[in-house]
Structure formats: structure tokens, C-alpha cells
């Protein structure tokens, strides 16, 4: 028998998906790979779209966080890292007395406040528990800003979603990533001539334009898409493939060695029970900066602070170096002397560090970050065009275009809810950030609830309205939400867009400006759908899905356009 026919209804004799009883033609590798590509792309396509969109946005999560904490004034210059570390260590002594471990992340250009978490006694049989807080680097005290998850929400959603136990969410993300990886490989095999046909895609009009758009986005971004997918799996590889560790790590000492090759987290050893004041954190950070350069310290972790057995790890940041492998200095917590220096890691660990670094993209300068953002956005559009293309192609084959079968309807509605609904839901979070009362209990969680409430409403909208109307309406709502964001901000804070621009506060202004750009994109998409609608409404015209001739305005608009 020749290559498999993956259609679920096929009898061994069916040649095509229409159920005709013809002797089977050999299907060939490209055909089966095409089928595999479609299935792996479609089954979790909406999840992948959400992962890509939230991932794209996460490259600027620090800027989003700044925008979402307008109480923290724009600071043109930052106090010295060493001084900040010392201040916050002192604060932690008072707010987290007796904790066995705290970890403090120092502020940097993109993230002007400090963040620390510390261990607290676990309750209800949990293995461990932590509390965390944000700190003002100038005072060392807890920051007085509205309670919000900031851009971190999109970042975490990207790999563990929400409302799910963390492990489940990460497993689901890993599954989706594997589907993506197989979709990429099967897509390349199917389109074997991608490199020879580099510029000779059919760029005509008509339904081919969907294929061309999807192909173009996939091919031009191929290095990135492949890299981002594989490295994404690598970031959580200890969860997905625990077997080598289970088989090969034979003692707690070995386990500590393994961990130290991958992150700088300091595990607290047994406390001695004898109290001793913690040595100067400020001096430790200065020592690290002496060795690595100014501004190089990212994180300070203390184990058993206030105890004679205290240890402090000063870890190097990710800027300017590609690998995220741990580099740290370990100090004796009482005497302040360097006890151990981790300068490098082994070959496999360094490979993993580079792959991790490639995924997070924190190594680069602003221009590199923008490149990541743009190519990642193209990847998002790649997934979106793939999903839409499926309905476009199936629509040709519908027996009765007015009454499509259930599978088609499901895909069509989910496409709308994902591609048009998610941007709206994400914009809703920014609105909630400005509008929710500051003293609302669990305000931060409510900002997140708003995202899902709006997303659910968008899904309902997508189901209840005729598809074309739903596309247009949701795109327009999303465009409006983003276009009016600067207005909302000017009305609810004292940091209107013009002032941010005048001050050179590019993070704050950037969020609103990029929001405006996205609003234009969504509005453009709404217009495309609306114009196509008037074309198809002409009597006697076959329901061909053509893209109306228009000057190619901007990249994603040209390709993420709906019917």
C-alpha cells in the first residue's frame, strides 16, 4: 500500500478526500507531509497563535510593566546597583525576618524597580511557599504602585497559561511546541523547493495569495521559527524529559552540581542556629562589579541570612552575552569573603545556556529586540494565516456553502475568537489596569480575569454573529481599544503621551505608540474583510476568496487579512 491517506473516512481504495471509489494513486511523501502539516498545525493552532502573540508581546514586557505602574515616575538615571542591593537587603530584614532564603532582582534600564521573593513557611502540605514584592530602588522600601501583574502576565501565559496548575500548563505548552516543531519539519519537507523557489512564489491574486502569504512568512522567518520552537522546548526540558536526570544523578551532591550548571539558584543548607549579622551586601555587589563590569549584576540571593551559615550568591545578568548559563560569585554571608566563583559551565550546559538565551532574546540591544519582536510577530501571522487558509480552502469544497459542516464551523469560529478576539482581550487588560479601583481587593488578579472575560465574550460574539460581521466587529473593537489607549491614559494618569515624548520616556510612550500601530493594523484588517464582503455579495459571482487589490500597506496587514 502506498503512503497513508490520513483522512479519517478513507477506505483503502479512496484516492481523494471526496470519497470517490477510484484505485488509490500513490500518495507520495510530499502529500503525506502536507497532511501531517495541516493536522499538526490545525489541532492546536489556536493555542499556538495565543502562545506566539503573547510571546511576541513579552519581548517588551518590561516596558508594559512600566506603563502599567504609572505611579512609579520615569527615572532618567538609576541609583547604583550596589547601594540599591544594600538598601533592599535591609528592608528584607524587617519584612522577612527569619526567612531561610530571599532572592532579589536588581533594577536595570528596562525594569526600573527591584523585585524580591522570600521563603515563608508552607501551609497545607505544600512543599514550599514564597512571598514577593516590588521595591523602589531609591528608598529600598516597598513600592507604592497599583497592584498589577504587569507585562509578566503575558510572559507567564505564554508558557504556562492561566487557571491551570503550573505543571499542566507547561505540559500543554510543550505539547503545542512539539506540534509546532513537527508542523515546521513537515512544512519544509512538503515545500522541498523552498530554497530554489526563493523569490518565485505565485504572488497573484485570488486564493493563492493566502498560500503565498503563509509560505512567505514561514520561509523568510524559518530560521527564527525553528529556533524559537526548539529552544522553547529546551527552556522546560527538565520537566519534559526528566529521564536522564532520574537515571544518571545518583546523589544530592550530583544534583546540586547539575543545577549549578543551569541556574544560579542557591539552595539553603542547614542553618547552624547561631545568629550572626549578614555582611554588607553592597560590598559584595561592588566586588562582583569589579570583576564583571558596572551594571553587570542581576540578582542577589541569600541563604540563611542572619545565621552563621549564611551564604550569598551574586549572579551575573544576561545583557551583552548570548548564553544564559549561570555565572556567579558565592560569598560567605558573615565574613563577606568570596568562597566560590562559577565562571563557566561545561559544553552541553553552555549549549543549553545559548539556546535559552536565544529564546528569551535578552542578550541584545534595542535594535535586536525590535528584530525579535518583528520576526516573532511574523510568526504569529504565519500561524494565523495558516488557520484562515484552512477555512478558505475548505470553503471551496463545501457541498453547500451556506450550511457548512460542524468541523468547518468550529474552525471558523475559533479562528475569529483567537485571531480577532485575543488582541482585544489583551488590550482589555490595559484598560482594566487604568480603570479598576486602586483599592480593589486582589486587583492584580482581577486585571487578569478581565482578559479572560473579554476573551470569552469575544468567543460568544464569534459564535453568535455571522462570521464576516464577527471578524469586522472584533477587529474594530480591538482597534478602538488600542487607539483610545492614549486618551484613557491621559484621563486617568498624569503621564499623557505628549509629556512622555517630551521627557524622552520611550518605554511609556512606546507602549501607546505601538498600541496605535496595532490599532491601525487591526483597523486595516477590518477594512479588508469589509471590502471583500462587498465583492462577494455581487450576484452570480462564485464564492471565490480573493484579496481585493490594494497597495501593500504593512506587512502583517497584508497577510493576516481575513476574508
Amino acid at each position: 500500500m502506498s503512503a497513508p491517506d490520513l483522512s479519517p473516512h478513507a477506505t483503502p481504495d479512496a484516492a481523494s478526500g471526496t470519497g470517490a471509489r477510484v484505485p488509490a494513486a500513490p500518495r507520495g511523501l510530499r502529500q503525506t507531509m502536507s497532511d501531517l502539516h495541516i493536522w499538526t498545525g490545525l489541532l492546536l493552532g489556536w493555542l499556538l497563535f495565543a502562545m506566539f502573540l503573547t510571546g511576541t508581546v513579552s519581548y517588551f514586557k518590561e516596558e508594559l510593566s512600566q506603563w502599567m505602574r504609572p505611579e512609579i515616575a520615569h527615572q532618567a538615571d538609576r541609583p547604583e546597583a550596589a547601594v540599591v542591593a544594600g538598601r533592599i537587603a535591609k528592608t528584607l530584614e524587617t519584612i522577612a525576618p527569619g526567612t531561610t532564603q530571599w532572592s532579589l532582582r536588581l533594577p536595570d534600564e528596562r525594569h526600573p524597580i527591584a523585585n524580591a521573593f522570600w521563603r515563608v513557611p508552607p501551609k497545607d502540605g505544600a512543599k514550599r511557599a514564597f512571598k514577593d514584592a516590588n521595591f523602589d530602588p531609591r528608598t529600598g522600601l516597598k513600592v507604592a504602585a497599583r497592584e498589577t501583574p504587569g507585562g509578566e502576565f503575558f510572559y507567564r501565559f505564554h508558557f504556562q497559561f492561566h487557571y491551570l496548575p503550573v505543571a499542566w500548563g507547561r505540559w500543554l505548552a510543550g505539547l503545542a511546541a512539539m506540534f509546532m516543531l513537527v508542523a515546521i519539519v513537515s512544512g519544509v519537507i512538503t515545500h522541498k523547493k523552498i530554497f530554489t523557489d526563493f523569490f518565485t512564489f505565485r504572488w497573484g491574486k485570488g486564493q493563492r495569495s493566502w498560500l503565498d502569504a503563509h509560505n512567505a512568512l514561514s520561509v523568510f522567518g524559518l530560521p527564527f521559527h525553528l529556533m524559537i520552537t526548539y529552544t522553547g522546548l529546551v527552556t522546560l526540558m527538565t520537566l519534559y524529559m526528566p529521564w536522564p536526570e532520574m537515571a544518571g544523578i545518583e546523589s544530592p551532591a550530583m544534583k546540586r552540581q547539575l543545577t549549578s550548571e543551569m541556574n544560579a539558584f542557591l539552595q539553603p543548607a542547614k542553618p547552624s542556629g547561631e545568629a550572626a549579622p549578614l555582611a554588607s551586601i553592597e560590598a559584595m555587589v561592588r566586588e562582583a562589579e569589579r570583576r564583571w563590569g558596572p551594571g553587570s549584576v542581576a540578582r542577589v540571593t541569600a541563604a540563611n541570612p542572619g545565621d552563621a551559615a549564611a551564604r550569598v550568591a551574586i549572579a551575573r545578568g544576561e545583557g551583552g552575552r548570548l548564553s544564559m548559563s549561570p555565572q556567579y560569585l558565592l560569598f560567605d554571608g558573615v565574613s563577606g569573603r568570596v568562597v566560590e566563583e562559577k565562571q563557566g559551565v561545561g559544553a552541553a550546559a553552555e549549549t543549553r545556556g545559548v539556546m535559552y538565551g536565544l529564546h528569551l532574546g535578552r542578550f541584545g540591544d534595542g535594535a535586536t529586540r525590535w528584530l525579535y519582536f518583528l520576526v516573532s510577530l511574523a510568526g504569529t501571522a504565519m500561524v494565523g494565516t495558516g488557520l484562515v487558509m484552512w477555512t478558505v480552502k475548505r470553503r471551496q469544497k463545501l457541498a453547500d456553502p451556506e450550511r457548512p459542516h460542524l468541523g468547518f464551523r468550529i474552525v471558523e469560529r475559533l479562528n475569529i475568537a483567537a485571531i480577532a478576539g485575543l488582541p482585544l482581550a489583551m488590550a482589555a487588560m490595559l484598560w482594566a489596569n487604568r480603570l479598576l479601583p486602586l483599592d480593589l481587593a486582589r486587583r492584580g488578579e482581577w486585571e487578569i480575569h478581565v482578559v479572560f472575560i473579554v476573551w470569552a465574550l469575544a468567543l460568544a460574539h464569534a459564535v453568535l454573529r455571522p462570521p464576516r460581521r464577527a471578524w469586522i466587529e472584533l477587529f474594530v473593537l480591538g482597534a478602538a481599544a488600542l487607539a483610545l489607549l492614549p486618551v484613557l491614559n491621559a484621563l486617568t494618569t498624569d503621564r499623557p503621551l505628549w509629556r512622555s515624548l517630551a521627557q524622552g520616556d520611550w518605554a511609556f510612550a512606546g507602549v501607546e505608540l505601538v498600541g496605535l500601530a496595532f490599532a491601525a493594523l487591526l483597523a486595516g484588517l477590518a477594512r479588508r474583510v469589509a471590502r471583500h464582503r462587498s465583492k462577494a455579495a455581487r450576484p452570480g459571482r462564485a464564492r471565490a476568496i480573493g484579496t481585493p487589490a490594494r497597495p501593500a500597506a504593512d506587512t502583517a496587514a497584508a497577510v493576516e487579512g481575513a476574508r
Binding site: 500500500m1 503512503a3 473516512h9 478526500g17 513537527v182 536522564p244 537515571a247
Partner: protein, 119 residues
């Protein structure tokens, strides 16, 4: 891209006029078999390979990390293989053939052979 396969059954007609549910079931079994081979068998092979790597004469810690790093490539390759070959049976055979040399290596590692090189 020639897409002639519809992932949704436009062939209710086929079902209605064929020999009935049993024929449909028998037609679907190879596909289900492949899916199991790909999703389950592929993961098993990747896990096996990631453990077998520890038998290499390299630092144990680096081997553990390396095994994890490469496992996803093995998984993806296995999935593509399962759907590329001509029958479900061949798919399973291929997975077993790939697993065969890895099994004794993984077994020896799992049952506590001391690391070939110091960690």
C-alpha cells in the same frame, strides 16, 4: 500545495453506502496506530535515547544535559518517520529497530552503572 485530504468527514456519503461501521473502523485503525506510534512511541524513543546518551564516555552531568537537549529532535524525527512510511506496521517496526541498540545502553545506565567519567 495540493490538499486533497479533508480532515473533516465530507464522506458521510461513503460511510452510509459502505459496508458500514466495521469497514470504517478498520480503515481508521492504521491511522490510530500511527498516532499512538507517533505520540507515544516517539516520546518513548526520545526518552530512551536521552538516557542511552549517558553511556557515552563523557562527563555525567554534561551527558544528562545533552541527552535532554537532543531528545526533542529525536521525538520530531520519530513522528515524521511514522507518517512518512508506507504502513503503520512499518512505522512500529522502524521505532523498534531504532530502540533496539538503545535499550541495553539505557538499561545499564538505569541500573546504576557508575559514570564512565567523573561527573
Amino acid at each position: 500545495m495540493n490538499v486533497t485530504v479533508s480532515p473533516t468527514p465530507s464522506a458521510r456519503r461513503v460511510g452510509a453506502s459502505s459496508a458500514g461501521g466495521l469497514a470504517r473502523l478498520r480503515a481508521v485503525l492504521p491511522l490510530i496506530s500511527r498516532i499512538v506510534a507517533a505520540v507515544g512511541g516517539g516520546y518513548a524513543l526520545a526518552a530512551l535515547a536521552s538516557v542511552a546518551v549517558l553511556a557515552l564516555p563523557v562527563s555525567r552531568i554534561q551527558a544528562v544535559i545533552g541527552g535532554m537537549l537532543g531528545s526533542f529532535a529525536v521525538y520530531a524525527a520519530a513522528v515524521v518517520w511514522v507518517f512518512a512510511v508506507r504502513s503503520a506496521t512499518r512505522a512500529w517496526i522502524g521505532l523498534l529497530v531504532a530502540a533496539l541498540p538503545l535499550l541495553p545502553l539505557a538499561w545499564s545506565v538505569w541500573h546504576g552503572a557508575a559514570p564512565a567519567v567523573s561527573p
